[in-house]
Subunit: 477 residues, 2 copies
């Protein structure tokens, strides 16, 4: 698709958002559509999402969660039933007013999330304590109209999974919130991305939740990406939709509910965490192509080199997603660059010299290292190399994140911060609003391991009031 | 979920549509939602769809098709660009008029299918003959507002895959139409369902297509279900959206396009083809649970029997989707019925006698046969039994279909037909409209193997005009 066209990627240090846009386009992950705010996800980008989805799906299934599918349409009156919920989502709704050639008497919202679509039905399904816990998940598209869209991170339509569970007790529900958060953290680790997990502030929690927990990711420009969230909804929705169960005690109780979700925004996080000035860098677990073989030949060595390349591909294709770039009329240099932009973790360069010596030249996208490997040792070497690439990307991301969190003690220090900062905070709502207004910064997360631990400073860095915890703060996508 | 409630399934012979509704509900496949015409697919029903999807997905990937995701919203002007297309779909559209708190200047349709959503972008992606063929697929939800909804078969929102491909020549495009039709036939065979494949009449083809091919399924009441379709779109959409390529000849050409789709209507076909008066019967390939173990114990043998059951489960769980029904407080008889309604192919009954003798009693849902099998031989026996169940269901469905297609020669014979009939037909549009008006019957398919073969009768059974082919006719869902 116009592969000879001149390609350019802005440097990260010059304009990070422009760099991001460039990589998304040049790596053919996605592009804008005619419908403002909605994107087209191309095969290479969608495959990354499918690999993330497969891993999360496996984890959910192992944990006994079952999949369900509810309609995309939500009656407006359902959405309006939970006051905080509708306040949070009303500004972002897309509304269907006409269908089947007629104006609808009851307008329908397109689901921005499915609490209001599902829980009336939960009330029917749940009768007795024997029906609990109910743990369902939905893979679906949702719509939240975006004023400032950004590829993967903020599109008006996005793909995600949303888990919706119901328990007899608060204790069980809260335990699951943390378990799911742990699963999200694991899935991000699968992508070689470290996350900072814990509770959100009252201002930043999900509309309608009692408590929101989050897995926060640091992008390479020091902004935060909300990677996934796991909410304890308490009995807020159960009251509104009448989700009761008859307990073993013979008495009717409200269920305690959770919801939790991870979207293809995770693909955006992969780009922003691992990418460099040459484009994407993918960890092997989620690379659509893990090994690209680039043949280097002249006319007379064409067949010999290609057949050697294909033999290696055939040897490795059971264990790896692997491809030989057989395109004619393109130089090896062009192909090197083409696959570097796309972040393929390993490139094998094979010319007549390699064929003669039974060797391959292996290039690692993560660190640019090259080594020559004897073909008979390739399989063994690759095992180690793939693990090493994963670990190396994970370590780079972790080191970067840790290095970019400063500790601050006062309002005066905020101005100079480029990355995240940690501070002891009173969780005063007004103070967070000031912070947002003045600096565009909000609290991101109270690290779960810090719950119950004394803050480093007893005085809130904004209000001077008593602070209970240390929080992380950042600008965010 | 109220499992003690009295359950009833209408007999097929008394009221087939009522039987269908009952099975869908009692097997917990799906239920109606608050939004008229839209359904809720429950875990057991969705898992059947996921198993069908996995098989088709594997086939498409093997064939080199890549997945893509386009927005759910289609600008109305795109839909209106192809005249036949919009005429076909306009009555079924759902329209978004407001989003993000504002009235939209350009109203958006929710995709009823994605030709009009995708092909403007195809025009950008396709520049030269080197970009062809382009073969993409989308797994998505679509909306076609239904006046007369029916679970799985006709819901206003449904899940499907839609393939959209572009080729340099008509010949290549038409060859792919038939290849995809073959894949659909294979996927139905995977569900133990025979299909009748071939071309649709001009009246019955897809709105905007040059030619539609179909895989037709016969339900047990003798009606037809359109199981999947594969269309040759010619250059109709390419003209409208400007999808051109520069040929090797240096000249600009229009691409030849196809689209092809299979939806979760296939789950409805499974119910209507294999089900009986006791509920669902599932072929092993698509059974969410392939083997259910029902322990039969008294208080004193409880632990011994259960541990034997779980040992067997552990031995088989690598090869089968298997479960022990450990629910307390339910009789074995209740459990037998529960899993029969849900169509689980194999039940193992295990009591103290079986434990003592190292045997299990095996019940087959497809034919009701019981046999006693020595535990050490169970693994081997199951291999044969599962294949036999699949073949037996496939044979029953095939025999039924063949037995319910009558050959007729004249208009006068139509009245008495309950199943399908074959007749020599001129393909005269008006005559088909009469047939539809008078009997609710339409042509279903011109069997592909009959293309080019002389019709049995040279005179059309309706008009008396020369007939070129033998066609199948039926009422349909």
């Amino acid at each position: 698709m116009a592969i000879n066209e001149k390609r350019t990627i802005t440097k990260q240090s010059i304009d990070f958002p422009a760099w991001y846009q460039d990589v998304v386009r040049e790596a053919e992950l996605a592009e804008s559509s005619e419908v403002r705010g909605c994107g087209i996800v191309r095969p290479y980008g969608l495959k990354i999402w499918e690999l993330i989805k497969a891993e999360l799906s496996r984890r959910l299934e192992d944990d006994g969660v079952e999949n369900v599918y509810f309609p995309i349409f939500v009656p407006l009156e359902n959405l309006e039933a939970e006051k905080d919920h509708v306040e949070g989502f009303a500004p972002e709704l897309a509304i269907v007013t006409h269908a089947g050639g007629e104006e609808l008497t009851n307008k329908l919202a397109i689901r921005p999330t499915s609490e209001a679509a599902m829980y009336k039905t939960y009330a029917k399904w749940i009768q007795s304590y024997k029906d609990l816990p109910l743990r369902l998940n939905q893979w679906a598209n949702v719509v939240r109209w975006e004023k400032r869209p950004r590829a993967f991170l903020r599109w008006s339509e996005f793909l995600w999974q949303e888990g919706h569970t119901a328990f007899a007790t608060e204790e069980e529900a809260r335990a699951e919130v943390m378990k799911m958060l742990g699963i999200y953290q694991d899935v991000y680790s699968f992508m070689a991305i470290p996350t900072f997990t814990g509770r959100k502030s009252e201002n930043e929690k999900f509309a309608g939740a009692v408590m929101t927990t989050t897995a926060e990711v640091m992008a390479k420009d020091g902004k935060a990406i909300q990677g996934a969230t796991s909410h304890y909804l308490g009995t807020n929705f159960a009251e509104v939709f009448g989700v009761n169960y008859l307990g073993a005690d013979g008495v009717s109780h409200l269920v305690h509910q959770n919801s939790w979700g991870l979207s293809w925004r995770s693909v955006g996080a992969v780009v922003m965490v691992h990418g460099d000035d040459n484009g994407l860098r993918l960890p092997p677990n989620i690379a659509p192509i893990q090994i690209i073989i680039v043949p280097i030949y002249k006319d007379e060595s064409h067949d010999q080199v290609l057949s050697f390349c294909n033999k290696i591909k055939d040897d490795l294709k059971v264990d790896y997603r692997i491809k030989v770039d057989e395109r004619e009329g393109q130089t090896p240099g062009f192909k090197f660059n083409y696959w570097e932009v796309r972040g393929v973790p390993v490139r094998l360069e094979i010319g007549l010299k390699e064929v003669a010596e039974g060797k391959v030249t292996l290039f690692r996208r993560d660190n640019g290292a090259k080594e020559v490997i004897i073909v008979t040792e390739l399989k063994n070497s690759l095992k180690t190399i793939m693990i090493d690439i994963h670990n190396s990307l994970y370590k780079q991301a972790t080191d970067f994140a840790v290095a970019n969190i400063n500790r601050i003690e006062s309002w005066d220090e905020i101005g100079g911060q480029v990355g995240w900062f940690e501070a002891s905070w009173s969780e005063d709502s007004e103070s967070e609003k000031q912070l947002k207004e003045k600096f565009g910064i909000v609290s991101r997360v109270l690290l779960s391991e810090k719950e119950g631990i004394e803050p480093k400073n007893k005085k809130c860095f904004i209000t001077g009031k008593p602070s209970k915890h240390d929080w992380l703060f950042a600008k965010c996508y």
